[in-house]
């Protein structure tokens, strides 16, 4: 890179310089007004081009490989249970089954662990075709009420789940109302596994967005019952499954953290999941999955990131090679005046 001051032809201005400023400042000001500030004027030379592409490639491909490796080291078990957990008799009318509260929704799933899973093991539920990002849904909440509870009255943004039986609802809005309410319990040979359901939400949410003294009130008391109920004796800031749920997902397919198993699971171990299949995804044909996964610095299993890095990195390398080849074959000397348009014109004619 070359730092080049504007060239020296400021002669015309010599008499005009302002003396209001100190000489240094005045000179800088002068150069500024004359558009003659020192400037860096990089020029793309073949060397630069080839090197830039090559270095980018050299950086990107290993990063991709590292990411891919990290992703591969994550052990992930996904089990879809929405169909299996419906008794044969109700398979043709799943919606009726899920809406009938008199039928027991208990269901058992067995999961075979292929690889050793190191604690902490994260438990997610995954929903599909579920538009948590729908504008009507996203808007239907009231942050002030979540923080201040009944003290805060204006909950019009929670429509249509604002009040029932003439009383306000805490927490109001569609998001809270549709709280996911399947529950899981994990049993291994040695006995039931401990699922930690604390610390699954963002700390800032617990501490700053959901009131410590705000208790659920008049929740799920209306004619339409949506999802899960909340224990009115526990403040909202401790209702972590609600807090997680209220972080609306960006895509119609999403996972949300359910809990954390804080003990290792060995390879070939068989785990039974006792689950209660309460939540209605059958109306809109959404899948329900339970996910057990380990985690590392990358997060979960994320092959895409590594692949993308490798793909982009490879194309950088390829382009660099291509440019190098073309440069060897048809070199153009830098600053060769024969490439100026007037010279080319005369060559052509």
């Amino acid at each position: 890179m070359e730092m080049e001051g504007g060239s020296s032809s400021g002669s015309a201005g010599g008499t005009q310089t302002h003396h209001r400023f100190s000489p240094m400042r005045s000179r800088a000001f002068y150069r500024f007004t004359q558009q003659n500030l020192p400037a860096c004027k990089p020029v793309l030379t073949p060397g630069w081009v080839i090197m830039t592409f090559l270095i980018m490639g050299i950086v990107f491909v290993p990063v991709g490989l590292v990411c891919l490796h990290a992703s591969e080291s994550v052990v992930e078990i996904v089990d879809r249970y929405d169909v299996e957990c419906i008794p044969e008799a109700y398979r043709s009318n799943k919606v009726a089954y899920i809406k009938d509260s008199s039928i027991s929704k208990n269901c058992n799933r067995t999961i075979k662990v292929q690889k050793h899973m190191k604690a902490p093991i994260y438990i997610y539920y995954e929903l599909d075709n579920y538009y948590q990002n729908h504008r009507r849904f996203v808007k239907s909440r009231n942050d002030k009420q979540l923080l201040y509870g009944l003290k805060y009255k204006d909950t019009s943004s929670c429509k249509p789940e604002e009040s029932s039986n003439g009383l306000p609802i805490v927490p109001c809005g569609l998001i809270a109302w549709s709280l996911f309410n399947d529950s899981y319990a994990f049993v291994r040979d040695r006995g039931e596994m401990n699922v930690n359901r604390k610390n699954i939400a963002w700390k800032s949410d617990r501490e700053h967005k959901f009131g410590k003294h705000v208790y659920p009130f008049n929740f799920q008391n209306g004619t339409l019952i949506g999802g899960g109920k909340l224990d009115p004796s526990i403040p909202l800031s401790d209702q972590e499954d609600l807090i997680v749920w209220m972080r609306t997902a960006a895509l119609p397919t999403f996972r949300k953290l359910y809990g954390i198993i804080e003990e290792d699971i060995d390879a070939d171990e068989i785990i039974t999941v006792h689950l209660v299949n309460n939540y209605n995804t059958y109306s809109f044909g959404g899948k329900k999955k339970i996910v057990l996964t380990t985690s590392n610095w990358l997060g979960g299993k994320n092959g895409f990131l590594g692949m993308a890095y490798i793909a982009i990195g490879t194309s950088f390398v390829l382009i660099s090679v291509l440019f190098a080849l073309i440069h060897v074959k048809y070199p153009r000397p830098r600053g060769d005046p024969t490439y100026l348009s007037w010279n080319r014109k005369s060559n052509a004619s």
Binding site: S8, A39, Y130, W202, T248, A249, T293, N296, L305, A308
Partner: protein, 1246 residues
């Protein structure tokens, strides 16, 4: 005080003047009806002279003399300015969006819609208000000028211009402007004559004579207006400068008025101590104001094209919105009933999600979507462009290389919205007087009795000599040395044959001229200090000086302080002659009614001898005659006719024995012409007493004849005597060009610009100037188009009949024929170096501009290297400009200095006013004002070039950035069931255009330089990138838009892919909408800012700070926003600190997406650089590797090659000369070699 002046100047010019001062002898009382009626409608105006109060009430309540050129006033500003703002289609759209934002349809909060709009509109309106305020101040300056007005009882006092009413009697003193249109009543001359300079009206420099009616002559002092009363009935206000119809009823007699009694506003009283006049038209009724057209608001081509891009984006917007709303309707109808978690059955108070009417919901959603995707239309584009242009204008104003130290005037961009248009100019239409020339004549050379005197060279010669000198030395020319001539191609490296041109141009480069007498640059000791007496023909020289001192119509004025005389002459040439005569020792000191007194100084005697020359007759100059003569009787009683005139005319009238010096003189005349000087030939004739008296009786008869053929008779009579002349010599006067004009024209021509000169002056004058600024040169084919030469016909009385036969139609056909012939001639021309110049006269232009001929005329004009239009009216200037503008479809620039150029300045795409000596009208009407013509080069080639590229790149980038951003919103819609939810926080979106990406793009628009200003000037060919529109063609625009599309796809899908469902960090948390939105937005900020860094090639600390600052601002904002109350930030609370920053995925995604987005552009510019570099790329490389320092030869060679092949300008002139010389040399050498004697070519061979 006025009395004394009057006594001194007791002259009755009408006695001497032959042609223009003949007063109609009879008043109209006999034939005019006493009822004071004028024919037809449009002549209803009645002016009660000296009774201004009569014009304060109806029916004679005419407007006052107040003028206003502002667009708004306090009351109308708000509605009108707002209306103007919302005429921009994009603003209207945003207004609608803002209105809708208060309903639940809008996806955004009302503040986020209204605030930016208010900001944008408010800023534009503030700018508008400021500009109008400036106009108002300018108007007020004029309105509060003071005039001397009759206040009653014969007392006169000062009054503001704007308080002057119709009917007021005003007294105007020398060198003052007339405050309104006046009827001349009397002047300081006894016969009521006054001289008027109408430069502001028609640009003509010579003075015009106006005369009052005989009956009003007694009104010669203040007291006489005590009981003056008269009534004028005249035409209604109109714009015709040269006509006036009216009657004056005075002392119960009716007199006809004609234009020669009317003094127009904005013209100036000259050579006359004072005049009395009565106000006829005031304020906006005056002819000059009637001529003023509303200054049109101009928009640059880029901006017009930008509108099309906005339409395209609107189409995209509507299309995308339609897809969205259809998708929404479909989803609502078929899927939403199943989405129980939305409680779709409970409609609530809005119909947005009504299941029973999905169609209606769809339509509502269309509106939502139109607002949501509004980011495709950059709201901040207009305001950013305004800001950039104001800053660019500031740089133009600040440029010290366009600052004139003499007058203290900087260049000024008066409207900033045409900056980029400066970079695309194709044709320059220039005024002559005051623009190219200073309108100052310098006596430079003369030829007397076959000898040429005067050693000083003209500017043209000096410049040409310098150029040749630089070529011979082959040396490089210093940069910035003021005059920088490009060497001729190839020859600078010492390989060319050495041609010595001393024989061609004999002059030496002088040191800076020492200050001298105004109008006199003559330098030759042979004639000075009386040395002429020892020259070969002293008697001829004596005669020459006497002709200079006697043959004129000027009036001497004694300067009390210095004791020397200054002269008030009708034309500056005449003044220069008199100054010259004075310096030679023939001082014209007094003029009486019948005589001219000259103080002749001879070295033999100490005291000057005062000689009296009796003026018997004066046959003055006019454009038809092209000569003037006086008949004098000298002290010996010898009657002489002294004559000066155009050389061709004089040479035709020489007697057989008067041709002694003809050959030498005409050789000298050619040399002078080539040197760009104005020439006149001088001759005399001795008359016998008897011959004179017979002629005089004829002449008096003609002079007193009444009727239309009086003039013809006079012509004939003067023709009788102006013959058999004896040639004395010739004069050469330099019409001083403004500093640097030829060089500037040369460089502009090399930058590929065409230059037309439109002047109100005579054809000869125009041609002379054409020569002196190298628009014309010897060997150029001059195509003169003028109507059938009536002079010849009228000169011959026998053919007077023919005159009547030459009807309009015939003249028109004749001109058509001339044009066709000329076009044919040019087509048949085979020599590539041949150039032709079109010189067309105003009258011919009238026909050429008619509908059926103008295309033909234009195509001829375009084929010619130079075009000079002479004797054109202001209206015609505007028409020619329009013809060029519309006929060629290219950008035209008009430059002028006087009020007569206003039409042209307003009509052209860009109007440039010279803020010099003249009034301010041209500057007021212009878009840019500079104080010297030569600054035009820098204005166009440097600022124009830069501004064009900056604005073009900036707009392209703007669209790229908004497409890249706006489309991600659309893709996300598809994932939200088209519900109108945006993935980004409202605040991100507001900040995107306003803060996060606006400053880098503004810095691109303000500071970007592809090459430095020196290189711009050195490589005029770079300017052609503008007129060829290389940077804003559809190819480029589409390219940038596709880049935006690609970027949006990359940004969205890479993010979606990576953040799909998995946890994105060690803690196991999955990404919610806020996390994905923020990451995606971070990627956008990085991508677009990296993109702009790749676009720029000139980084000062400002750009670096702004680009880095924008990125840093984003993180800082995120931090601050995260720290604010969760009630404000919502899900963005602590997002960076807690969720994103600890996650490696967040950072790696940013890197990946930024790299991926810029990949194609990087490939594009690398490829272009490697294999298909543009001119500025190569020059950047040369500069980068300092090749210009190492290989100066190459650098200078390329610089000279970089100019367009021109046929005008110095360079072309020198090229032609060199070609000619080479041709000769070649012949010579071959003939010599035939004799096998090879001699080095010697200078005198050439």
């Amino acid at each position: 005080m006025a009395r004394t002046g009057r006594i001194r100047e007791k002259l009755r010019w009408s006695k001497i003047y032959t042609f223009s001062c003949i007063r109609p002898t009879g008043s109209m009382t006999a034939d005019a009806s006493p009822s004071l009626s004028l024919p037809g409608p449009g002549h209803s105006r009645v002016v009660r002279c000296n009774q201004p109060h009569a014009h304060r009430r109806n029916p004679l309540n005419y407007p006052s003399n107040y003028i206003s050129t502002t667009k708004y006033n306090i009351v109308t500003f708000l509605p009108k300015a707002i209306f103007e703002q919302f005429r921009r289609v994009a603003n209207l759209y945003f207004l609608l969006a803002a209105c809708l934002s208060v309903t639940s349809i809008s996806p955004f909060s009302p503040v986020s819609m209204i605030a930016p709009l208010a900001f944008v509109v408010g800023l534009s309106m503030a700018k508008e208000a400021l500009e109008d305020w400036r106009r108002f101040v300018q108007d007020m300056k004029v309105n509060i000028r003071k005039a001397i007005v009759h206040k009653g009882n014969g007392r006169f006092g000062n009054k503001f211009w704007h308080k002057i009413r119709v009917g007021d009697v005003v007294k105007v003193e020398k060198n003052q402007f007339f405050p309104a249109d006046l009827l001349l009543l009397s002047s300081s001359y006894e016969d009521g004559i006054c001289y008027v300079e109408t430069m502001n009206l028609d640009g003509e420099t010579n003075l015009k004579v106006k005369r009052s009616l005989e009956v009003t002559l007694p009104l010669e002092d203040d007291q006489s207006f005590n009981d003056f009363s008269a009534t004028i009935q005249c035409e209604d206000p109109n714009s015709s400068l040269y006509t006036f119809v009216g009657n004056l009823e005075y002392e119960r007699q009716v007199y006809a008025l004609d234009p020669s009694q009317i003094l127009l506003r904005d013209s100036k009283l000259r050579n006359t101590s004072y005049i009395y006049g009565v106000v006829i038209f005031t304020g906006h009724d005056t002819k000059v104001m009637q001529n003023a057209t509303e200054s049109p608001s101009k928009r640059s081509r880029i901006e017009k094209k930008m509108d099309y891009i906005i339409y395209i984006l609107f189409t995209v917007l509507v299309l995308v919105s339609l897809i969205s709303s259809i998708g929404f309707a479909v989803k609502t109808k078929f899927e939403m009933p199943e989405w129980w978690y939305l409680q779709p059955q409970r409609v609530g108070d809005s119909h947005l999600y009504n299941l029973s009417t999905p169609g209606l919901s769809g339509i509502f959603h269309l509106v939502t979507a139109l607002i949501l995707y509004g980011y495709l239309i950059p709201i901040s584009l207009y305001v950013s462009i305004e800001v950039v242009k104001v800053l660019q204008a500031m740089f133009i104003n600040q440029d010290l290389q366009m600052y004139d130290e003499e007058t203290g005037n900087p260049a000024q961009a008066r409207t900033s919205n045409l900056n980029e248009e400066l970079g695309q100019v194709d044709t320059i239409l220039s005024d002559k007087t005051g623009t190219l020339t200073c309108n100052q004549m310098d006596f430079l050379k003369c030829s007397i009795a076959g000898f040429s005197y005067g050693l000083r060279s003209s500017e043209v010669e000096i410049a040409a000599a310098k150029q040749i000198a630089s070529e011979e030395s082959g040396g490089s020319v210093q940069n910035g040395s003021g005059i920088d001539y490009w060497e001729n191609g190839g020859s600078s490296c010492g390989s060319s044959p050495e041609i010595k041109l001393e024989g061609g141009i004999t002059c030496k480069i002088e040191k800076a001229r020492k200050p001298m007498i105004k109008g006199f640059s003559f330098e030759d000791d042979r004639l000075m200090q009386g040395n002429w007496l020892s020259e070969p023909d002293p008697d001829v020289i004596l005669l020459f000086f006497r002709i200079l001192a006697v043959c004129h119509t000027a009036i001497p004025e004694l300067d009390e302080e210095t004791g020397s005389f200054t002269y008030e002459a009708e034309s500056p040439d005449e003044g220069a002659f008199l100054v010259a005569a004075r310096e030679f020792g023939f001082e014209f000191c007094r003029r009486t009614q019948t005589s001219v007194f000259v103080r002749e100084r001879y070295p033999s005697s100490a005291d000057p001898i005062e000689r009296e020359f009796k003026i018997l007759n004066l046959l003055e100059f006019n454009s038809k005659r092209k000569r003037m003569s006086v008949v004098i009787r000298d002290e010996n009683g010898q009657v002489l006719l002294l004559c000066k005139g155009a050389d061709s005319i004089i040479f035709d009238r020489l007697s057989k024995n008067g041709r002694m010096y003809e050959v030498d003189t005409s050789k000298h005349l050619n040399e002078y012409g080539e040197a760009g000087l104005r020439t006149l030939a001088l001759a005399y004739r001795k008359l016998e007493e008897s011959e004179y008296s017979t002629w005089n009786t004829d002449f008096l008869k003609a002079k007193t004849a009444i009727g239309p053929d009086r003039e013809a008779q006079l012509e004939q009579a003067s023709d009788m005597i102006e013959k058999e002349l004896i040639l004395v010599g010739a004069t050469a006067v330099e019409d001083k060009l403004q500093k640097g004009v030829p060089q500037c024209i040369d460089k502009l021509a090399q930058a590929g610009l065409k230059i037309w000169v439109l002047t109100g002056d005579k054809m000869e004058t125009a041609i002379n100037i054409g020569f002196s600024c190298s628009l014309l040169r010897q060997g150029m084919k001059q195509i003169c188009i003028s109507p059938v030469n009536k002079d010849l016909i009228t000169q011959d009385a026998n053919k007077a009949l023919v005159l009547s036969l030459v009807t309009e139609q015939a003249v028109k056909e004749d001109i058509q024929k001339q044009i066709t012939n000329a076009s044919q001639m040019i087509k048949l021309e085979t020599d590539p170096h041949a150039a032709s110049a079109l010189i067309i006269d105003g009258k011919a232009l009238t026909y050429a501009l008619e509908e059926d001929m103008k295309q033909q005329f234009l195509s001829l004009a375009v084929d010619c290297a130079s075009v000079i239009c002479c004797r054109v009216s202001p209206k015609q200037k505007a028409l020619v400009t329009r013809l060029v503008k519309e006929g060629t479809g290219k950008v035209t620039l008009a430059i002028g200095d006087g009020a007569n150029d206003v039409g042209m300045i307003q009509e052209a795409d860009i109007g440039v006013g010279i803020s010099g000596v003249e009034g301010m009208q041209a500057v007021m009407a212009s878009d840019f004002s500079i104080s010297q013509f030569r600054y035009l080069e820098r204005l166009l080639v440097v600022h124009g070039h830069w501004c064009y590229k900056r604005i073009a790149q900036m707009i392209c980038y703007f669209f790229y950035k908004n497409i890249a951003f706006g489309l991600t919103l659309f893709y996300f819609e598809a994932y939200t069931g088209f519900s109108g939810q945006s993935v980004y926080d409202d605040w991100y979106m507001i900040l995107f255009n306003v803060i996060l990406t606006s400053l880098p793009v503004i810095s691109l628009g303000v500071f970007e330089q592809d090459v430095s200003s020196e290189v711009c000037l050195q490589f005029p060919a770079l300017y052609q990138q503008g007129p060829k529109n290389l940077f804003f063609d559809w190819y480029r625009i589409i390219g940038w838009m596709s880049n935006g599309l690609y970027s949006s796809l990359m940004i969205f899908f890479l993010n979606i892919g990576i953040f799909f469902t998995q946890a994105f960090r060690q803690g196991g948390q999955t990404a919610d909408m806020a996390a994905i939105g923020t990451t995606m937005f971070t990627c956008i900020i990085w991508a677009v800012n990296m993109q702009i860094s790749l676009t720029m090639c000139h980084f000062t600390w400002i750009q670096i700070v702004l680009v880095c600052g924008s990125i840093a601002t984003w993180y800082l904002f995120l931090l601050a926003y995260g720290e604010s109350s969760p009630l404000i930030s919502g899900n963005a609370f602590h997002i960076l600190v807690e969720a994103l920053a600890p996650s490696p995925v967040f950072w790696s995604v940013t890197l990946l997406v930024t790299a991926a987005c810029n990949l194609p552009y990087l490939i594009h510019i690398s490829y272009q650089r490697l294999y298909n570099p543009m001119d500025h790329h190569v020059i950047q490389e040369i500069k980068y590797y300092k090749k210009d320092v190492e290989d100066q030869c190459m650098w200078t060679r390329e610089r000279s090659k970089a100019r367009s092949a021109t046929k005008i300008g110095f360079t072309a002139r020198v090229d032609a000369k060199i070609r000619q010389l080479k041709g000769k040399l070649h012949m010579k050498v071959s003939s010599l070699s035939a004799q096998t004697v090879v001699l080095p070519p010697s200078p005198d061979v050439l």
